[in-house]
Subunit: 365 residues, 4 copies
Amino acid sequence: MATVLAGVIPRPHAPVEVRELPEPELEPDSALLEVALSEVCGTDVHLQQGRLEGVPYPLIPGHVSVGRLSKIRGRLLDITGRPFAEGDRVTFLDVHRTCNACWHCLVAKATTRCPRRKVYGITYGLADGLAGGWAQKLYLKPETRCIRLGDVDFEKFMAGGCALPTALHAVERAGVELGDTVLVLGSGPVGLSVIIFALMRGALRVLCIGAPERRLEAARQVGAAATLNVETSDEETRVRWVLEHTEGRGADVTIEATGAPIAVVQAMRYTRDAGRVCVVGQYTDHGEVSLNPHHDLNRKHLDVRGCWGSDFSHFYRGVRIMADPARSEAWSLLKLDRYKLGEANEALADVAAGKVTKALIAPQA
Amino acid sequence: MATVLAGVIPRPHAPVEVRELPEPELEPDSALLEVALSEVCGTDVHLQQGRLEGVPYPLIPGHVSVGRLSKIRGRLLDITGRPFAEGDRVTFLDVHRTCNACWHCLVAKATTRCPRRKVYGITYGLADGLAGGWAQKLYLKPETRCIRLGDVDFEKFMAGGCALPTALHAVERAGVELGDTVLVLGSGPVGLSVIIFALMRGALRVLCIGAPERRLEAARQVGAAATLNVETSDEETRVRWVLEHTEGRGADVTIEATGAPIAVVQAMRYTRDAGRVCVVGQYTDHGEVSLNPHHDLNRKHLDVRGCWGSDFSHFYRGVRIMADPARSEAWSLLKLDRYKLGEANEALADVAAGKVTKALIAPQA
Amino acid sequence: MATVLAGVIPRPHAPVEVRELPEPELEPDSALLEVALSEVCGTDVHLQQGRLEGVPYPLIPGHVSVGRLSKIRGRLLDITGRPFAEGDRVTFLDVHRTCNACWHCLVAKATTRCPRRKVYGITYGLADGLAGGWAQKLYLKPETRCIRLGDVDFEKFMAGGCALPTALHAVERAGVELGDTVLVLGSGPVGLSVIIFALMRGALRVLCIGAPERRLEAARQVGAAATLNVETSDEETRVRWVLEHTEGRGADVTIEATGAPIAVVQAMRYTRDAGRVCVVGQYTDHGEVSLNPHHDLNRKHLDVRGCWGSDFSHFYRGVRIMADPARSEAWSLLKLDRYKLGEANEALADVAAGKVTKALIAPQA
Amino acid sequence: MATVLAGVIPRPHAPVEVRELPEPELEPDSALLEVALSEVCGTDVHLQQGRLEGVPYPLIPGHVSVGRLSKIRGRLLDITGRPFAEGDRVTFLDVHRTCNACWHCLVAKATTRCPRRKVYGITYGLADGLAGGWAQKLYLKPETRCIRLGDVDFEKFMAGGCALPTALHAVERAGVELGDTVLVLGSGPVGLSVIIFALMRGALRVLCIGAPERRLEAARQVGAAATLNVETSDEETRVRWVLEHTEGRGADVTIEATGAPIAVVQAMRYTRDAGRVCVVGQYTDHGEVSLNPHHDLNRKHLDVRGCWGSDFSHFYRGVRIMADPARSEAWSLLKLDRYKLGEANEALADVAAGKVTKALIAPQA
């Protein structure tokens, strides 16, 4: 019987184990993906630390992944109705089973809040099969939405990775307009992709407050006009810095991508009256924060928009943008670190420590 | 020399004094309004308590007011270019001098945040002339935007009063859609007008959490489908009550009109995923409140919109709606209490204590 | 073997025949609806006249219908996940198979343009089973979205019928704002429901240009402030009439619901500068019309919005509104005419001639 | 007495005359601009041909212009409140007197349709003073909104010229989204700036159909991915070309900037279902065009948006973008032709014939 090596988090706080698992039988209209690259993002760190609710341990992490279709049973179609063939280079929307039948899907049209929605590598566990990217092969269940990568370089695509649809969604939801000054809080993978998309969407200047210095350098490389180190500045300095860079008014748009609750209130304070704040960095519960609703929200006539998950349209457009050499150039500037399956714990530690910009798992290595 | 009696707050915390002031000379293109009714709203209480910033004491309170044009010098035109005549029954936009020349007016198109904006009875003080409605006559400076009331009953109009444009703005900004369940927090004048406008805009059901019982009765009279007393319920009860009235999801839209910081976070918690929250009750600094950005904002994919002030379009449409007998019927149900100029301190005390739904000053009485 | 009587259009231009058809075997998760009422709308007239493209004759007409679930095989769930039971009073979204897998569904989020979308009674023909409402029983295929009617009166619901979601969609897309003057072109079922929804959404005044007089009377009964007979007025009169009712500016919003190409350009001409036009009456090809893009569109800075079909959210909210006695009162004022299955040709003739406001088929009669 | 040379169109169809006019006395808070460059755009050709309504001949053409403030009387402030000084390099919003007092300004917030609005060089004639840019000096009336150019190269700025705010407005109104395929009809100055802004706003690919070949080359230079010559192709070819470049669906967004009525209907036909069309090329009456409202509008569920004029926000942001070396680079690629005042008739002829991409008047030459 054919077997597959996969990295498994057996339970919260336990280290990743590489296990040898049987290659699955394919249901009709399903497929196997030979994973070329998967990634290690902040969510994976949270998974290992047991910080997310409703995770069915043990699980194989790795949501956004790329590779080749090594086996197809039945029909697998792209959104234009064209069938995929074995050997095709693809990625896939890690969100599965948005039901198109519930109140959230059909009335609110808020599919990222569909209660039946499942995510490969996060809410699909080992019991659901080879449903994570930290594995030599990943099982693409029926109705998984695959997208052709054509000749897009796997590594460049993964420089965006799961941050790509998240950041595109955030920039779209923030409503960046031509000529805006956009402030990005956070310089991790999402923050860096937000900088790129904000510029692509017509921001005149993008400012970034983040850390550490190495990531701020990456922020400048991908286009940030100015950066400030959050770790070596105090709040007064930060406020003054923002005002100095915005003619004394605050940013037109601030996008929070940090994970720190305090950043949500800072985002409101750093934004001009009648501006927009998009909160996309609070994917895990890190506690509470105190705000002054008069000064921070009502009197400023702010728009504050939470931004949860992403849907096929964000992912699909992200892939198309990555397929365009000029549009995707900025992502080529990001430094990637590759880890083998057996090095997954090291990868998690490096991501947790902010040592690397972007960590990839290369399961075939 | 003709004189005018006016109620004056000499300085923060001091009681209102009735003073006899000289009737002013009119500049070109200005007018005198013989005030029939002005009002006493929460902002007036805050003015007397010294809770607002940048108030030029001494001042004559009273922003939204109605009456007859008793004298016009030069030309005073309505927005269709038709001149007003002495004797016309009018109201006027209490916001004056939105400059149409600054960054907020011209680039952000956020005129309610124009730094040169002045408000009769709030940021115009006695030094600026008879610039408040608690007076027998009010001086309409050049470029004050007057609106004909035609045969609209003065008292019915003042049942909306300054809450009218505020509430219309809030409901518009909240984006109420046909069939929505709207939750209103607060049952003061703004809350009551919000209920009426939310229903007028197509909400299927409006719920209201407020106090005291007398105001909740008013809320039901103007159309609230269900009400809950915030003073006699605990948070767990309130959450359960909201869920019970929203099929377990929370309100599609919540409009906060309370003045209590905690209500802003409650508004977020009482709202369904991907819903909208409009914050219009935090006109004064009442302190801070703690929220959980993961649970209350990001994960819910909420839109939280601060709503500051109102502009001519809100006021004008409010007047037009008041001129329609069917559309304005609900406001006729609100109980009004009239006070003479000499009873202004009593009026302030009654409003501060929530004893009355709406208090009016009748300066000619 | 149990049989079912159904009205069938065998081919374009042929009269409806009542046929006796076998009651179908149910697939898993499908059901039979005992049809209480279906309707005869303009689309049915077009179907009989062969004016629609891609219709698979022979077919059983009747898209929006109401009745009782007489048999269920497997599970049939509502959007909250609650199962339906035999005997439940329901309606269902006549649009079926919106695929949730194509570019239009997933990237453009324009599900009413999904190429795989099928409509009961229009693009499902007899070959697809008992897939139309002009039958004693209708076969609800798996994944048909049923909606509970509770104790909503069947007849009142059908007074809205298929016009209900269409009109709700049009009013929402037109973006009616509080205080708007809305002009409705057309006084057929869609026009009448548009009047009701425009008022429900906050229009201050609704004007209607239509015909014949009997329908204009219905327009006034459901709330139109003024009406004009299109058949007995010339264009100059109509323009003058609109300007007289809009302070010389034109309507804020015009919704075209006529079926006549000329009405689309009239809608643009009757609308104020920077207003909105929603075109919802051009469901069939009635030919071309000439417009002047400078005067009618560009210089006016107009928004012209085509509005095709409706989706579950429109239908579901329409049903909820119908379940509210106050909100749905206006529809009770509409006169309905009932026809038996054997009178379907008479019904079509009466609808085509504009003799009736709304014609219903009562298959059990 | 000091005199100024100016080009004057004495009456429709008459050639431009260079006249010597007295330098004006300055009113308080007005200024004189020493014009460095003005431009010759399609509107100027229409002015000379008498094709615009309400033009007060004789007039000095030239709306968007740049130069130095040579004299200031009183105070002239920028939108941050900072005073201008003599010698400052500036441009100014050619639209003047938007009244901030009428229904269109205050209720509809449609300032580009304010009936009191005046435009330098178009609706201000010689009787209004030196109110056009084809002159050595231009009189900046009180409340003209000037904008500092800092060290922005005059010529590069004028490569955008009046097309800059027009195109920015059109792209914003068209609602270009990240990843869109945008089709631009027309390759004149507006079309070329639309291409640049559409890419700046996140279009993945911009297609252009225009003429002549020289301008299509310019279109490709500023970023169009593909171009088609409208003069050497027939309609069938054009439709096929668009479908080939859009996966068979049509463009997500089409922006019409041609001046030909037929292009408005072509724009609708070349656009995908549920897409957006922005019509910005119909500034003059060139006659009627025939459309099929069923096929071209309703069934496609299109948004068709007329776009008239531009306001300060468009102009101001355009200037800011021009001040950014990277953002404004594309405009440097456009070929400009300079003409002296005495060569204005030649300039008009060259623009009318499409011989030049952009013609500038250099009044000091």
